[in-house]
Symmetry: C2
DNA sequence: CGGCTCATGTAAAAGCCGTTCACATGAGCT
DNA sequence: AGCTCATGTGAACGGCTTTTACATGAGCCG
Protein backbone atom coordinates (compact mmCIF):
# COMPACT_ATOMS: atom_id res chain seq x y z
CA UNK A 1 0.00 0.00 0.00
CA UNK A 2 1.94 2.98 -1.23
CA UNK A 3 0.70 6.23 0.08
CA UNK A 4 2.05 7.98 -2.94
CA UNK A 5 -0.30 9.48 -5.34
CA UNK A 6 0.68 7.02 -8.00
CA UNK A 7 -2.78 5.79 -7.34
CA UNK A 8 -2.94 3.92 -10.59
CA UNK A 9 -3.52 7.17 -12.38
CA UNK A 10 -1.36 10.14 -13.20
CA UNK A 11 1.57 11.07 -11.01
CA UNK A 12 0.15 13.95 -9.07
CA UNK A 13 2.94 16.30 -8.17
CA UNK A 14 2.88 19.28 -5.97
CA UNK A 15 -0.80 19.23 -5.30
CA UNK A 16 -2.45 16.29 -3.72
CA UNK A 17 -5.89 16.81 -5.08
CA UNK A 18 -7.94 15.47 -2.24
CA UNK A 19 -5.83 15.89 0.82
CA UNK A 20 -8.62 16.63 3.24
CA UNK A 21 -10.31 13.36 2.47
CA UNK A 22 -7.04 11.47 2.56
CA UNK A 23 -6.24 12.91 5.96
CA UNK A 24 -9.59 11.94 7.39
CA UNK A 25 -9.16 8.45 6.07
CA UNK A 26 -5.64 8.17 7.41
CA UNK A 27 -6.75 9.46 10.79
CA UNK A 28 -9.48 6.83 10.92
CA UNK A 29 -6.95 4.12 10.24
CA UNK A 30 -4.59 5.38 12.88
CA UNK A 31 -7.21 5.96 15.53
CA UNK A 32 -8.67 2.52 15.10
CA UNK A 33 -5.19 1.08 15.49
CA UNK A 34 -3.78 3.16 18.29
CA UNK A 35 -6.66 4.99 19.89
CA UNK A 36 -7.46 8.67 19.66
CA UNK A 37 -4.57 9.48 21.97
CA UNK A 38 -1.99 7.59 19.98
CA UNK A 39 -2.96 9.25 16.76
CA UNK A 40 -0.62 11.97 15.58
CA UNK A 41 -1.12 14.69 13.05
CA UNK A 42 2.30 14.06 11.58
CA UNK A 43 1.54 10.41 11.04
CA UNK A 44 -1.59 11.23 9.13
CA UNK A 45 0.34 13.63 6.95
CA UNK A 46 3.00 11.00 6.31
CA UNK A 47 0.39 8.46 5.42
CA UNK A 48 -1.14 10.88 2.95
CA UNK A 49 2.28 11.57 1.49
CA UNK A 50 2.54 15.25 2.35
CA UNK A 51 4.69 17.36 4.59
CA UNK A 52 3.76 17.78 8.25
CA UNK A 53 2.60 21.33 7.61
CA UNK A 54 0.18 20.50 4.84
CA UNK A 55 -2.71 19.41 7.05
CA UNK A 56 -2.90 22.92 8.44
CA UNK A 57 -4.34 24.07 5.15
CA UNK A 58 -7.40 21.95 5.90
CA UNK A 59 -7.70 21.81 9.67
CA UNK A 60 -6.96 24.53 12.18
CA UNK A 61 -5.25 21.99 14.39
CA UNK A 62 -5.24 18.41 15.45
CA UNK A 63 -8.38 18.80 17.52
CA UNK A 64 -10.31 20.08 14.56
CA UNK A 65 -9.44 16.96 12.63
CA UNK A 66 -10.69 14.80 15.46
CA UNK A 67 -13.81 16.90 15.69
CA UNK A 68 -14.38 16.39 11.97
CA UNK A 69 -14.13 12.69 12.47
CA UNK A 70 -16.53 12.78 15.37
CA UNK A 71 -18.87 14.80 13.19
CA UNK A 72 -18.82 12.20 10.47
CA UNK A 73 -19.15 9.53 13.08
CA UNK A 74 -22.35 11.04 14.39
CA UNK A 75 -23.70 11.29 10.88
CA UNK A 76 -23.00 7.67 10.10
CA UNK A 77 -24.29 6.74 13.52
CA UNK A 78 -27.51 8.56 12.87
CA UNK A 79 -27.92 6.79 9.54
CA UNK A 80 -27.26 3.42 11.09
CA UNK A 81 -29.72 3.98 13.91
CA UNK A 82 -32.36 5.30 11.55
CA UNK A 83 -31.98 2.22 9.45
CA UNK A 84 -32.09 -0.09 12.47
CA UNK A 85 -35.15 1.63 13.87
CA UNK A 86 -36.87 1.41 10.49
CA UNK A 87 -39.69 3.48 11.82
CA UNK A 88 -40.65 0.82 14.30
CA UNK A 89 -41.20 -2.07 11.89
CA UNK A 90 -42.26 -4.82 12.22
CA UNK A 91 -43.16 -3.95 15.77
CA UNK A 92 -41.96 -1.37 18.22
CA UNK A 93 -40.18 -3.64 20.65
CA UNK A 94 -38.38 -5.63 17.98
CA UNK A 95 -37.23 -2.46 16.29
CA UNK A 96 -36.13 -1.08 19.60
CA UNK A 97 -33.99 -4.09 20.29
CA UNK A 98 -32.49 -3.76 16.84
CA UNK A 99 -31.45 -0.23 17.66
CA UNK A 100 -29.63 -1.47 20.73
CA UNK A 101 -27.77 -4.03 18.67
CA UNK A 102 -26.93 -1.45 16.05
CA UNK A 103 -25.47 0.74 18.75
CA UNK A 104 -23.12 -2.00 19.88
CA UNK A 105 -22.29 -2.98 16.34
CA UNK A 106 -21.26 0.56 15.59
CA UNK A 107 -19.05 0.76 18.65
CA UNK A 108 -17.39 -2.49 17.72
CA UNK A 109 -17.06 -2.06 13.99
CA UNK A 110 -16.16 1.60 13.97
CA UNK A 111 -14.03 1.97 17.05
CA UNK A 112 -12.28 4.95 15.56
CA UNK A 113 -15.50 6.83 15.07
CA UNK A 114 -16.82 5.75 18.41
CA UNK A 115 -13.82 6.87 20.38
CA UNK A 116 -13.61 10.14 18.49
CA UNK A 117 -17.24 10.71 19.35
CA UNK A 118 -17.27 9.69 22.97
CA UNK A 119 -13.79 9.17 24.30
CA UNK A 120 -11.59 11.77 22.69
CA UNK A 121 -12.07 14.17 25.54
CA UNK A 122 -12.86 17.07 23.27
CA UNK A 123 -15.52 19.48 24.48
CA UNK A 124 -18.69 18.50 22.66
CA UNK A 125 -20.37 21.79 23.27
CA UNK A 126 -17.52 23.84 21.85
CA UNK A 127 -18.41 22.96 18.30
CA UNK A 128 -22.01 23.75 17.59
CA UNK A 129 -22.29 21.74 14.39
CA UNK A 130 -20.82 18.77 16.21
CA UNK A 131 -23.29 19.24 18.99
CA UNK A 132 -26.10 19.35 16.45
CA UNK A 133 -24.96 16.15 14.78
CA UNK A 134 -24.80 14.45 18.14
CA UNK A 135 -28.31 15.55 18.91
CA UNK A 136 -29.66 14.37 15.60
CA UNK A 137 -28.32 10.92 16.43
CA UNK A 138 -29.83 11.01 19.88
CA UNK A 139 -33.10 12.14 18.37
CA UNK A 140 -33.50 8.71 16.79
CA UNK A 141 -33.30 7.02 20.15
CA UNK A 142 -35.59 9.64 21.54
CA UNK A 143 -38.16 9.11 18.79
CA UNK A 144 -38.06 5.37 19.35
CA UNK A 145 -38.59 5.90 23.05
CA UNK A 146 -41.52 8.12 22.26
CA UNK A 147 -43.19 5.41 20.26
CA UNK A 148 -42.46 2.89 22.92
CA UNK A 149 -43.87 5.13 25.64
CA UNK A 150 -47.07 5.45 23.67
CA UNK A 151 -47.44 1.70 23.98
CA UNK A 152 -47.57 1.84 27.76
CA UNK A 153 -50.14 -0.62 29.03
CA UNK A 154 -53.42 1.10 29.73
CA UNK A 155 -53.87 1.94 33.36
CA UNK A 156 -50.18 2.46 33.99
CA UNK A 157 -48.59 5.87 34.05
CA UNK A 158 -46.83 6.67 30.82
CA UNK A 159 -43.10 7.06 31.36
CA UNK A 160 -41.45 10.25 30.10
CA UNK A 161 -39.96 9.41 26.72
CA UNK A 162 -36.96 11.62 27.25
CA UNK A 163 -36.07 9.80 30.40
CA UNK A 164 -36.47 6.44 28.71
CA UNK A 165 -34.24 7.56 25.90
CA UNK A 166 -31.55 8.71 28.30
CA UNK A 167 -31.77 5.43 30.15
CA UNK A 168 -31.42 3.39 27.03
CA UNK A 169 -28.56 5.51 25.85
CA UNK A 170 -26.70 5.16 29.12
CA UNK A 171 -27.14 1.40 29.09
CA UNK A 172 -25.92 1.13 25.54
CA UNK A 173 -22.98 3.40 26.09
CA UNK A 174 -22.13 1.72 29.35
CA UNK A 175 -22.05 -1.74 27.83
CA UNK A 176 -20.25 -0.54 24.73
CA UNK A 177 -17.56 1.32 26.54
CA UNK A 178 -16.98 -1.22 29.30
CA UNK A 179 -17.29 -4.45 27.37
CA UNK A 180 -17.86 -3.57 23.77
CA UNK A 181 -14.55 -3.39 22.01
CA UNK A 182 -12.19 -6.20 21.24
CA UNK A 183 -9.54 -5.97 23.87
CA UNK A 184 -9.94 -2.65 25.60
CA UNK A 185 -10.85 -3.23 29.22
CA UNK A 186 -11.90 -6.75 28.49
CA UNK A 187 -13.31 -8.62 31.40
CA UNK A 188 -14.50 -12.13 31.45
CA UNK A 189 -18.19 -12.01 30.74
CA UNK A 190 -20.75 -14.75 31.18
CA UNK A 191 -22.39 -13.62 27.94
CA UNK A 192 -21.76 -11.50 24.88
CA UNK A 193 -22.12 -7.73 25.15
CA UNK A 194 -25.06 -7.99 22.78
CA UNK A 195 -26.89 -10.45 24.95
CA UNK A 196 -25.98 -8.50 28.04
CA UNK A 197 -27.47 -5.35 26.63
CA UNK A 198 -30.52 -7.09 25.28
CA UNK A 199 -31.31 -8.62 28.64
CA UNK A 200 -30.72 -5.31 30.36
CA UNK A 201 -33.08 -3.45 28.08
CA UNK A 202 -35.75 -6.13 28.26
CA UNK A 203 -35.66 -6.17 32.04
CA UNK A 204 -35.86 -2.42 32.03
CA UNK A 205 -38.83 -2.40 29.70
CA UNK A 206 -40.56 -4.95 31.80
CA UNK A 207 -39.93 -2.70 34.79
CA UNK A 208 -41.91 -0.08 32.95
CA UNK A 209 -44.75 -2.49 32.56
CA UNK A 210 -44.20 -3.47 28.94
CA UNK A 211 -44.77 -7.01 27.91
CA UNK A 212 -41.53 -7.76 26.26
CA UNK A 213 -41.87 -11.45 25.79
CA UNK A 214 -41.95 -11.86 22.07
CA UNK A 215 -41.26 -15.55 21.80
CA UNK A 216 -43.62 -17.44 19.54
CA UNK A 217 -46.68 -18.46 21.44
CA UNK A 218 -46.06 -16.09 24.28
CA UNK A 219 -49.08 -13.98 23.66
CA UNK A 220 -50.48 -13.93 27.17
CA UNK A 221 -47.63 -14.10 29.64
CA UNK A 222 -49.73 -12.72 32.41
CA UNK A 223 -50.64 -15.96 34.07
CA UNK A 224 -47.66 -18.23 33.76
CA UNK A 225 -44.62 -17.70 35.85
CA UNK A 226 -42.75 -14.83 34.29
CA UNK A 227 -39.79 -16.24 32.40
CA UNK A 228 -36.73 -14.07 32.75
CA UNK A 229 -35.55 -12.23 29.68
CA UNK A 230 -32.18 -13.79 30.34
CA UNK A 231 -31.87 -17.14 28.69
CA UNK A 232 -29.33 -19.74 29.50
CA UNK A 233 -25.94 -18.11 29.06
CA UNK A 234 -25.06 -19.56 25.74
CA UNK B 1 14.09 31.11 39.16
CA UNK B 2 15.08 28.40 41.53
CA UNK B 3 13.30 25.17 41.08
CA UNK B 4 14.42 24.33 44.56
CA UNK B 5 11.95 23.56 47.22
CA UNK B 6 11.83 26.94 48.82
CA UNK B 7 8.48 25.66 49.94
CA UNK B 8 8.25 27.78 53.06
CA UNK B 9 9.90 25.10 55.12
CA UNK B 10 13.41 23.76 55.19
CA UNK B 11 15.48 24.30 52.11
CA UNK B 12 15.52 20.80 50.72
CA UNK B 13 18.48 20.45 48.46
CA UNK B 14 19.37 17.82 46.00
CA UNK B 15 16.98 15.20 47.22
CA UNK B 16 13.31 15.75 47.23
CA UNK B 17 12.39 13.37 49.99
CA UNK B 18 9.04 12.22 48.77
CA UNK B 19 9.05 12.69 45.06
CA UNK B 20 6.92 9.72 44.18
CA UNK B 21 4.07 10.98 46.27
CA UNK B 22 4.52 14.52 45.00
CA UNK B 23 4.38 13.31 41.41
CA UNK B 24 1.22 11.34 41.97
CA UNK B 25 -0.36 14.36 43.58
CA UNK B 26 0.74 16.66 40.80
CA UNK B 27 -0.53 14.26 38.19
CA UNK B 28 -3.91 14.15 39.88
CA UNK B 29 -4.10 17.92 39.80
CA UNK B 30 -3.13 18.08 36.17
CA UNK B 31 -5.41 15.28 35.03
CA UNK B 32 -8.40 16.76 36.77
CA UNK B 33 -7.66 20.06 35.06
CA UNK B 34 -6.77 18.95 31.58
CA UNK B 35 -7.81 15.36 31.24
CA UNK B 36 -5.57 12.31 31.07
CA UNK B 37 -4.48 13.25 27.57
CA UNK B 38 -3.47 16.78 28.44
CA UNK B 39 -1.34 15.67 31.33
CA UNK B 40 2.37 15.67 30.69
CA UNK B 41 5.17 14.01 32.55
CA UNK B 42 7.29 17.11 32.34
CA UNK B 43 4.59 19.25 33.86
CA UNK B 44 4.31 16.95 36.82
CA UNK B 45 8.06 17.12 37.32
CA UNK B 46 7.97 20.90 37.11
CA UNK B 47 5.17 21.07 39.61
CA UNK B 48 7.15 18.91 41.99
CA UNK B 49 10.19 21.10 41.48
CA UNK B 50 12.51 18.55 39.93
CA UNK B 51 14.12 18.07 36.55
CA UNK B 52 12.23 16.31 33.77
CA UNK B 53 14.36 13.22 34.16
CA UNK B 54 13.73 12.74 37.86
CA UNK B 55 10.36 11.00 37.55
CA UNK B 56 12.04 8.13 35.75
CA UNK B 57 13.56 7.07 39.05
CA UNK B 58 10.07 6.28 40.26
CA UNK B 59 8.06 5.31 37.19
CA UNK B 60 9.22 3.40 34.16
CA UNK B 61 7.36 5.84 31.95
CA UNK B 62 4.35 8.07 31.73
CA UNK B 63 1.97 5.17 31.37
CA UNK B 64 3.17 3.61 34.57
CA UNK B 65 2.37 6.80 36.43
CA UNK B 66 -1.13 6.80 35.02
CA UNK B 67 -1.48 3.15 35.89
CA UNK B 68 -0.43 3.93 39.46
CA UNK B 69 -3.10 6.55 39.65
CA UNK B 70 -5.69 4.18 38.27
CA UNK B 71 -4.57 1.66 40.83
CA UNK B 72 -5.07 4.09 43.67
CA UNK B 73 -8.33 5.12 42.15
CA UNK B 74 -9.64 1.58 42.21
CA UNK B 75 -8.56 1.24 45.82
CA UNK B 76 -10.34 4.40 46.89
CA UNK B 77 -13.28 3.39 44.77
CA UNK B 78 -13.47 0.05 46.48
CA UNK B 79 -13.37 1.72 49.87
CA UNK B 80 -16.08 4.15 48.93
CA UNK B 81 -18.35 1.45 47.56
CA UNK B 82 -17.78 -0.76 50.55
CA UNK B 83 -18.72 2.07 52.81
CA UNK B 84 -21.80 2.93 50.75
CA UNK B 85 -22.92 -0.66 50.65
CA UNK B 86 -22.42 -0.98 54.41
CA UNK B 87 -23.16 -4.65 54.17
CA UNK B 88 -26.70 -3.99 53.05
CA UNK B 89 -27.88 -1.87 55.95
CA UNK B 90 -30.50 -0.77 56.74
CA UNK B 91 -32.05 -2.78 53.96
CA UNK B 92 -30.76 -4.24 50.76
CA UNK B 93 -32.49 -1.96 48.30
CA UNK B 94 -31.65 1.23 50.16
CA UNK B 95 -28.02 0.21 50.42
CA UNK B 96 -28.02 -0.70 46.76
CA UNK B 97 -29.25 2.71 45.79
CA UNK B 98 -26.58 4.25 47.97
CA UNK B 99 -23.95 2.35 46.03
CA UNK B 100 -25.24 3.83 42.81
CA UNK B 101 -25.04 7.33 44.22
CA UNK B 102 -21.56 6.68 45.53
CA UNK B 103 -20.51 5.60 42.07
CA UNK B 104 -21.65 8.87 40.57
CA UNK B 105 -20.22 10.88 43.41
CA UNK B 106 -16.84 9.31 42.82
CA UNK B 107 -16.93 10.05 39.12
CA UNK B 108 -17.86 13.63 39.81
CA UNK B 109 -15.62 14.39 42.74
CA UNK B 110 -12.58 12.48 41.57
CA UNK B 111 -12.62 13.01 37.84
CA UNK B 112 -8.88 12.50 37.67
CA UNK B 113 -9.11 9.08 39.24
CA UNK B 114 -12.15 8.19 37.21
CA UNK B 115 -10.64 9.05 33.89
CA UNK B 116 -7.38 7.36 34.74
CA UNK B 117 -9.39 4.26 35.63
CA UNK B 118 -11.81 4.15 32.73
CA UNK B 119 -10.87 6.61 30.05
CA UNK B 120 -7.11 6.69 29.87
CA UNK B 121 -7.03 4.06 27.18
CA UNK B 122 -4.39 2.01 28.91
CA UNK B 123 -4.73 -1.74 28.63
CA UNK B 124 -6.32 -2.86 31.89
CA UNK B 125 -5.22 -6.42 31.51
CA UNK B 126 -1.57 -5.56 30.97
CA UNK B 127 -1.03 -4.78 34.60
CA UNK B 128 -2.13 -7.66 36.77
CA UNK B 129 -2.20 -5.74 40.03
CA UNK B 130 -4.29 -3.09 38.37
CA UNK B 131 -6.62 -5.72 37.07
CA UNK B 132 -6.89 -7.19 40.55
CA UNK B 133 -7.72 -3.82 42.09
CA UNK B 134 -10.37 -3.28 39.46
CA UNK B 135 -11.89 -6.64 40.24
CA UNK B 136 -11.90 -6.02 43.96
CA UNK B 137 -13.95 -2.90 43.32
CA UNK B 138 -16.33 -4.74 41.05
CA UNK B 139 -16.64 -7.47 43.65
CA UNK B 140 -18.49 -5.03 45.89
CA UNK B 141 -21.13 -4.46 43.26
CA UNK B 142 -21.22 -8.13 42.62
CA UNK B 143 -21.69 -8.95 46.30
CA UNK B 144 -24.49 -6.44 46.55
CA UNK B 145 -26.16 -7.96 43.51
CA UNK B 146 -25.83 -11.35 45.10
CA UNK B 147 -27.69 -10.21 48.16
CA UNK B 148 -30.29 -8.56 46.06
CA UNK B 149 -30.78 -11.64 43.94
CA UNK B 150 -31.39 -13.67 47.07
CA UNK B 151 -34.34 -11.41 47.76
CA UNK B 152 -36.07 -12.40 44.56
CA UNK B 153 -39.77 -12.79 45.19
CA UNK B 154 -40.70 -16.41 45.73
CA UNK B 155 -42.08 -18.07 42.67
CA UNK B 156 -39.99 -16.00 40.29
CA UNK B 157 -36.77 -17.26 38.80
CA UNK B 158 -33.76 -15.89 40.56
CA UNK B 159 -31.71 -13.68 38.26
CA UNK B 160 -28.00 -14.44 37.91
CA UNK B 161 -26.20 -12.12 40.27
CA UNK B 162 -23.26 -11.67 37.94
CA UNK B 163 -25.53 -10.46 35.19
CA UNK B 164 -27.28 -8.07 37.53
CA UNK B 165 -23.95 -6.70 38.67
CA UNK B 166 -22.83 -6.15 35.09
CA UNK B 167 -26.09 -4.43 34.30
CA UNK B 168 -25.84 -2.11 37.26
CA UNK B 169 -22.25 -1.35 36.44
CA UNK B 170 -23.01 -0.53 32.85
CA UNK B 171 -25.86 1.78 33.88
CA UNK B 172 -23.69 3.57 36.39
CA UNK B 173 -20.77 3.90 34.06
CA UNK B 174 -23.01 4.98 31.22
CA UNK B 175 -24.64 7.73 33.21
CA UNK B 176 -21.37 8.81 34.78
CA UNK B 177 -19.46 8.99 31.56
CA UNK B 178 -22.20 10.57 29.46
CA UNK B 179 -23.69 12.99 31.95
CA UNK B 180 -21.68 12.73 35.10
CA UNK B 181 -18.91 15.27 35.00
CA UNK B 182 -19.17 18.99 35.20
CA UNK B 183 -18.84 20.15 31.65
CA UNK B 184 -17.57 17.21 29.64
CA UNK B 185 -20.18 16.19 27.11
CA UNK B 186 -22.83 18.09 28.95
CA UNK B 187 -26.30 17.79 27.51
CA UNK B 188 -29.40 19.36 28.75
CA UNK B 189 -30.99 16.90 31.08
CA UNK B 190 -34.50 16.95 32.48
CA UNK B 191 -33.07 15.69 35.78
CA UNK B 192 -29.83 15.30 37.66
CA UNK B 193 -27.57 12.37 36.80
CA UNK B 194 -28.21 11.02 40.29
CA UNK B 195 -31.97 11.01 39.80
CA UNK B 196 -31.57 9.63 36.32
CA UNK B 197 -29.54 6.72 37.55
CA UNK B 198 -31.78 6.10 40.53
CA UNK B 199 -34.86 5.90 38.35
CA UNK B 200 -33.04 3.66 35.89
CA UNK B 201 -31.97 1.22 38.57
CA UNK B 202 -35.37 1.19 40.23
CA UNK B 203 -37.12 0.47 36.97
CA UNK B 204 -34.62 -2.26 36.27
CA UNK B 205 -35.13 -3.83 39.67
CA UNK B 206 -38.84 -3.72 39.21
CA UNK B 207 -38.35 -5.47 35.90
CA UNK B 208 -36.74 -8.27 37.85
CA UNK B 209 -39.78 -8.50 40.03
CA UNK B 210 -38.46 -6.67 43.05
CA UNK B 211 -40.72 -4.40 44.97
CA UNK B 212 -38.71 -1.27 44.96
CA UNK B 213 -41.24 1.14 46.36
CA UNK B 214 -39.75 2.12 49.65
CA UNK B 215 -41.87 5.15 50.36
CA UNK B 216 -43.41 5.20 53.82
CA UNK B 217 -46.70 3.37 53.81
CA UNK B 218 -46.04 1.60 50.55
CA UNK B 219 -45.88 -1.83 52.00
CA UNK B 220 -48.23 -3.65 49.65
CA UNK B 221 -48.06 -2.06 46.23
CA UNK B 222 -49.39 -5.14 44.52
CA UNK B 223 -52.96 -4.03 44.10
CA UNK B 224 -52.85 -0.32 43.49
CA UNK B 225 -51.79 1.09 40.20
CA UNK B 226 -48.03 0.85 40.10
CA UNK B 227 -46.57 4.27 40.66
CA UNK B 228 -43.57 4.92 38.54
CA UNK B 229 -40.21 5.14 40.22
CA UNK B 230 -39.72 8.43 38.42
CA UNK B 231 -41.10 11.27 40.44
CA UNK B 232 -41.85 14.67 39.11
CA UNK B 233 -38.60 16.00 37.76
CA UNK B 234 -37.61 18.15 40.69
C1' DC C 1 -2.17 31.89 -25.59
C1' DG C 2 -0.09 34.76 -21.68
C1' DG C 3 -0.34 36.22 -17.32
C1' DC C 4 -2.53 36.84 -12.60
C1' DT C 5 -4.07 35.09 -8.40
C1' DC C 6 -4.91 32.27 -4.78
C1' DA C 7 -5.50 27.76 -2.83
C1' DT C 8 -2.49 24.41 -1.64
C1' DG C 9 1.83 22.49 -1.09
C1' DT C 10 7.10 22.69 1.05
C1' DA C 11 11.12 23.71 4.05
C1' DA C 12 12.83 25.44 8.02
C1' DA C 13 12.56 26.65 12.60
C1' DA C 14 10.90 27.30 17.47
C1' DG C 15 9.25 25.17 21.40
C1' DC C 16 7.50 21.30 23.76
C1' DC C 17 7.62 16.42 25.31
C1' DG C 18 9.31 11.68 26.37
C1' DT C 19 13.21 9.18 27.18
C1' DT C 20 18.07 7.92 27.91
C1' DC C 21 22.72 8.41 29.54
C1' DA C 22 26.68 9.82 32.04
C1' DC C 23 27.51 12.08 36.04
C1' DA C 24 26.65 14.47 40.82
C1' DT C 25 24.95 14.34 45.44
C1' DG C 26 24.23 13.00 49.90
C1' DA C 27 21.65 9.63 53.32
C1' DG C 28 22.45 5.75 55.76
C1' DC C 29 25.31 1.99 57.08
C1' DT C 30 29.67 -0.04 58.77
C1' DA D 1 35.41 8.54 58.15
C1' DG D 2 34.46 6.29 54.21
C1' DC D 3 31.56 3.47 51.07
C1' DT D 4 27.61 2.64 48.47
C1' DC D 5 23.52 3.12 46.26
C1' DA D 6 19.17 5.45 45.68
C1' DT D 7 17.90 9.61 43.83
C1' DG D 8 18.54 13.84 41.43
C1' DT D 9 20.83 16.82 37.35
C1' DG D 10 22.07 18.32 32.57
C1' DA D 11 22.61 17.47 28.08
C1' DA D 12 21.18 15.28 24.17
C1' DC D 13 18.19 12.69 20.57
C1' DG D 14 14.21 12.19 18.04
C1' DG D 15 9.49 13.19 17.37
C1' DC D 16 5.37 16.14 17.49
C1' DT D 17 2.73 20.58 16.89
C1' DT D 18 2.46 24.79 15.02
C1' DT D 19 4.05 29.02 12.57
C1' DT D 20 6.28 31.49 8.87
C1' DA D 21 8.17 32.55 4.53
C1' DC D 22 8.34 30.80 0.16
C1' DA D 23 7.12 27.66 -4.10
C1' DT D 24 3.90 25.62 -7.28
C1' DG D 25 0.50 25.25 -10.43
C1' DA D 26 -4.82 25.13 -11.47
C1' DG D 27 -8.27 28.04 -12.90
C1' DC D 28 -9.68 32.13 -14.75
C1' DC D 29 -9.67 36.44 -17.45
C1' DG D 30 -8.51 38.99 -21.27
Amino acid sequence: MSWRKDQGRAERGYHHGNLKEALLQAALDLISKKGPAGFTFADAARMAGVSPAAPYRHFRDRDELIASIAQRGFEQFEQLLTQAWDDGRPDTVTAFERVGKAYLAFAREEPAFYSAMFESGLPVDSNSTLMAASERAFAIIRAAAERLAALAPPGTPRPPAMMMALHIWSMSHGVASLFGRGDAARRKLPMSPEDLLEAEVLIYLRGLGFLTDRRPGAAAPADDKPAGPWGKPK
